[in-house]
Amino acid sequence: MKVNVVLFGTMRKYASEDKFQMEFDEGAKLGDLLDRLKIEDRIYLIVLVNGRRADEDTPLSEGANVHILTPVGGG
């Protein structure tokens, strides 16, 4: 299955592009995606899968939109 990945802010360092697709076998979880991107520091990290906060155990699905960012703020 293919999932759509977007990296924001400082997370952009984990890939050459900000937006790209990744392919996984059925049954893959978010943790597998983070492993493949070599994102090791996962405590201060927000990942959205289809607009919801997700954790390493969240299953991936065909066409899922994955947003990866560190927490931010603004006025």
């Binding site: 977007v6 924001f8 802010g9 405590i43 201060y44 990290l45 927000i46 959205l48 289809n50 607009g51 919801r52 906060r53 954790d55 947003h67 960012l69 927490p71 931010v72 703020g73 603004g74 006025g75």
Partner: protein, 758 residues
């Protein structure tokens, strides 16, 4: 389902009764059996090396249960929303007087503070860095080893130099703005507790429980799932509780002692250690043609962020964005520096960088209009951005644009129409009256490059009411009442049928922050998304029970009805009874991601915004020319929040914002000399009281935003921004004196009058 019965109505705040009767418990009111008191040892110097920390005497004291230092931080010894450059507990050096060096937990508050006095810390003082411009020099002592410039951004568009050459009028000034204190009624406070399974709960008024959870987890080296943060209610925040305050201290002490620990900062400790608005030095050069068309704006901002970054970088980014206000400016050169010093700590504060630059810009605009002999309001109308315009940062204004609408409403309001009449009736011959106005736009949400999202839950409770969960905390702004109104209209029931769960990382989904004028827009859109799912769920069950097709199902007056036969109805409490009897829980989730502008600004996360709220404010002042004292007599505030979900709530925001902006204009300044806070309490830091509040009229202009819930945008910040230059422009109107430095204290106005008189 788009009926608006409750949206737009003057619904009483859902928390009003409990707040005014004192029934509501804020975090500083909480108490638990076997609870300890926590306290923080702050630095003795604004800048010093730590040579030795001796806690032996404190640990040996009766009633002292724990004394912690940097070695007791199990995870990362640092916090900070963007970069974790602030130590939880300092180990090698201190960078401001609020730096934490040790923590104590004791059986009484008095014992905790006695233990603080028994801790011996040996320091080696370092030179104090207290001037941001000097701090930028290579020769300056370093607050952080990496250098004193935390961030620097630059935006350039058009041909600025050519525009200045061709201009008929060029105005150039340097402006100085003060270090405003949030002055929330409840200081940074809370309780931390740990259960038998090692799960930690932190009750602490703040502005984003899920981000707090991650910052605590990072410092404790703990799975975030084992940490619950409850952020509602907060006794005021205004941005000052966006960053971590006492949450990590509470968690560390609860973890070490195994007992609940409470901490309440004194006003003095809050004033020294807490966040402030960035003081800024703003050089602004603005050009216009002879017909009154603005041509160019050149801005250089130097912001004093104090000892740590927190949100200083984003604040300066937004200052740059807002430095051209509501105006069509095709040629801009904008630059901002965020600089470390030993002057306390600056970060998020209602307005987030706009207050400073709008004071400068709106003064410039009045000066240009005067030089050209143009009406101040008409000059603004002529140059205001319209829908479809390209904004100064290069993006297209495709969302609702209310700049003209608020200016047009201003031109018709009583205070403006009868301004000469008001000015003519001063209370004494030596008192001069003036009327000033100012306007701004204010970015809503986090902007480009920072995904801004929110989620909400709706659950049908066994009694037929709905529990609506949104994590954006209630910090006094009234968002929970707006959530009730939007949920009631989305579900076809009464506000009494809605229970809101707010600001709780365990009981809600992550809806992001209560900052950035975003929570009503984000929470409202997420509620509408969840309500759509809830209606589908209800329709399936009701269609089955009522024997009607699902497309015939409508939602009205607390019940599900069959459209063609309204006598066929199933009240929500009956649906709840049926679901309960079947062992079912009817629950729905919804989410929302913000739209963003068509173009970003390279290297500047958060710039620009797509959606803006707009506001014009007018002030009538009376200046005592013998003392320089300025009294604000009357204000008309004209916000465009999009659809006003609760007009009474907008009026409350408007009135509170006017008073906060009045304090910023006239009296408020946290004075720090050589790193030492000289104004640590309300005896020296002067905020307006009810006796100083002027008569305030609020005229709401609704330029509805199509992407907003029911057309709403956000208004929490804009309300406190243009009032400041409206007041200083009114002082000019009264006396002829231009003020380029605020607050416009009596002394400052008196000296300016004296200088003008020669």
């Amino acid at each position: 389902m788009n009926e608006s019965r409750w949206v737009g109505a003057r619904v009483a705040r859902i928390d009003a009764r409990d707040k005014v009767t004192g029934k509501l418990k804020f975090m500083s009111d909480l108490s638990f059996p076997d609870m300890l008191w926590g306290a923080v040892l702050r630095s003795r110097y604004p800048h010093a090396l730590i040579k030795k920390i001796d806690i032996s005497k404190a640990k040996a004291m009766d009633d002292v249960v724990a004394v912690l230092t940097h070695g007791d931080v199990p995870g990362l010894n640092g916090f900070g929303i963007v970069i974790p450059d602030q130590p939880v507990l300092c180990f090698d050096k201190v960078r401001y007087m609020g730096d934490a060096v040790a923590l104590v937990a004791a059986t009484t508050k008095e014992a905790a503070h006695a233990a603080l006095r028994a801790i011996e810390v040996e320091y080696e003082p370092l030179p104090v860095v207290d001037d941001p411009e000097e701090a930028m020099l290579d020769s300056s002592p370093k607050v952080h080893a990496e250098g004193n410039i935390h961030s620097h951004i630059k935006v350039e568009r058009g041909d600025v130099d050519a525009a200045f050459r061709e201009a008929a009028v060029v105005v150039e000034n340097t402006y100085y703005t003060p270090r405003q204190m949030h002055a929330f009624m409840e200081t940074e406070s809370g309780v931390g507790a740990i259960d038998a399974d090692g799960n930690i709960t932190i009750w602490c008024g703040s502005q984003h429980p899920f981000r707090d959870q991650l910052q605590i987890a990072r410092a404790l080296g703990m799975n975030p799932k084992k940490i619950q943060v409850v952020s509602t209610p907060a006794g005021g925040a205004f941005g000052g509780k966006d960053e971590i305050t006492v949450q990590i201290y509470l968690a560390l002490l609860a973890l070490r002692t195994g007992r609940p620990v409470k901490m309440v900062l004194s006003r003095e400790e809050s004033a020294v250690a807490g966040m402030k608005r960035h003081p800024m030095k703003i050089r602004m050069k603005t050009a216009a043609s002879a017909d009154g068309t603005l041509l160019a704006n050149e801005v250089r901002i130097v912001a004093d962020t104090g000892a740590y970054a927190s949100l200083g970088g984003p604040v300066v980014n937004l200052a740059v964005e807002h430095s051209c206000g509501v105006y069509r400016l095709p040629n801009v050169r904008l630059e901002g520096f965020c600089v470390y010093t030993n002057n306390g700590l600056a970060g998020a504060f209602r307005g987030f960088g706009a207050n400073q630059v709008i004071f400068a810009l709106e003064t410039q605009v009045d000066m240009i209009a005067e030089k050209l002999g143009m009406d101040r309001l008409e000059f603004r109308r002529k140059n205001a951005l319209r829908h479809g315009d390209v904004a100064p940062l290069g993006h297209t204004m495709t969302a609702s644009v209310g700049a003209l609408a608020t200016l047009d409403a201003a031109s018709r309001c009583d205070l403006w129409v009868r301004r000469e009449e008001f000015k003519a009736s001063s209370s004494a011959p030596y008192k001069k009256r003036g009327v000033g106005l100012a306007t701004e736009l204010h970015g809503c949400g986090l902007g480009v490059g920072l995904p801004d999202y929110g989620a909400a839950t709706i659950e049908l409770l066994p009694d037929g009411r709905f529990a609506v969960g949104v994590s954006c905390p209630e910090i006094g702004q009234g968002n929970t009442t707006a959530f009730v109104q939007m949920a009631a209209d989305s579900l076809g029931c009464s506000p009494a049928d809605i229970v809101v769960i707010s600001g709780d990382s365990k009981r809600t989904l992550d809806s992001g922050t209560s900052t950035a004028s975003r929570s009503v827009y984000t929470g409202g859109n997420a509620i509408r998304s969840a309500a759509e799912w809830m209606r589908k769920t209800l329709a399936v069950l009701a269609a089955d029970v009522l024997g009607a097709p699902r497309e015939e199902i409508v939602f009205r007056e607390g019940a599900v009805l069959v459209k063609s036969d309204p006598a066929k109805r199933l009240p929500y409490r009956e649906i709840a009874r049926i679901a309960t009897s079947r062992g079912e829980t009817l629950k729905a989730e919804g989410d929302f991601i913000w739209p963003v502008a068509d173009k970003g600004v390279e290297g500047c996360f958060g710039l620009p915004h797509l959606i803006y709220s707009y506001i014009t404010q007018i002030a009538l002042v009376e200046v005592d020319t013998l003392t320089g004292m300025t009294e604000v007599l009357k204000v008309t505030s004209i916000p465009d929040p999009g659809k006003a979900i609760n007009p009474q709530g907008i009026e409350g925001q408007s009135e509170g914002g006017v008073v906060m902006g009045t304090g910023y204009a006239l009296t408020e300044d946290t004075i720090i000399e050589k790193g030492i806070t000289m104004t640590p309490n309300f005896s020296t830091y002067i905020i307006p009281t009810s006796m100083d509040a002027p008569e305030i009229e609020t005229i709401i202009v609704e330029e509805e935003e199509p992407s907003g819930p029911f057309g709403a945008k956000g208004i929490g910040e804009a309300v406190c921004v243009p009032i400041t230059p409206a007041i200083t422009n009114a002082i000019h109107d009264a006396t002829g004196v231009w003020l380029t430095r605020i607050p416009a204290t009596s002394e400052r106005v008196y000296m300016a009058l004296k200088e003008r008189a020669g």
